[in-house]
């Protein structure tokens, strides 16, 4: 079946502009995660959605970052007033249940470059 998809695959933007990154999780997966990965670094947790529960936003680095998940499926990560340090690959993952029980399946990522 279809895996996690993300769009766009690449995004180049100018400093100060807003960007929206999209994630389509695997159908039926209740949990959705956003991470970012800077060049040569590990994954930095950003936010986690589980069903209808309030999202875990503890990883968002600043209030310029926000995410929503509509209808329990598609998610959008929004970065306002982008800065050069926001340049990274943004990865989305989904799992059938929560992280305590289930494997996360990752999308291919969106490479964001802020000029």
């Amino acid at each position: 079946g279809a895996g996690v998809s993300q769009s766009p695959s690449n995004k180049v933007t100018e400093k100060g502009k807003d960007v929206e990154l999209r994630c389509d999780p695997i159908s039926g997966h209740t949990a959705l995660y956003w991470y970012r990965q800077s060049l040569g670094q590990g994954l930095e947790f950003l936010i986690y959605f589980q069903g209808n529960s309030a999202p875990d936003k503890s990883g968002l680095p600043s209030d310029r970052f926000s995410a929503e998940r509509t209808g329990g499926s598609v998610s959008t990560l929004t970065i306002q007033r982008t800065q050069q340090e926001d340049s990274a690959v943004y990865l989305c993952a989904s799992s059938l249940g929560g992280p305590r029980t289930d494997t996360q399946y990752f999308g291919p990522g969106t490479r964001l470059t802020v000029l």
Partner: protein, 107 residues
């Protein structure tokens, strides 16, 4: 700080040799997972080990978990050039990943 911390940061071996990577974590967990990331191929789940398990096998992969030491190891036997990748561990607590171990398998 990262919940999963891998070591070594980098490992270089010859094809056919075994590779061992370690992961340490700080809090109680329900499970620990290992992932692989090839350049250009994204992040792929390898194996999940639950807190009540001590060892788990999947093909050439062997994972151990020592909850008393809050550590896990990933052993890749009879390594191949295609195993060249970065390997990450993550626990279910806070979903933090470490910086990974960069494995290079020379043909």
């Amino acid at each position: 700080s990262q919940q999963g911390e891998e070591d070594p940061q980098a490992l270089s071996i010859q094809e056919g040799e075994n590779a061992t990577m370690n992961c340490s974590y700080k809090t109680s967990i329900n499970n620990l997972q290992w992932y692989r990331q090839n350049s250009g191929r994204g992040l792929v789940h390898l194996i999940l080990i639950r807190s009540n398990e001590r060892e788990k096998h999947s093909g050439r992969l062997r994972v151990t978990l020592d909850t008393s030491k809050k550590s896990s190891s990933l052993l890749i036997t009879a390594s191949r050039a295609a195993d060249t990748a970065s390997y990450f561990c993550a626990t279910d607590e806070n979903m933090r990943f470490g910086a990974g171990t960069r494995l290079t398998v020379k043909p």
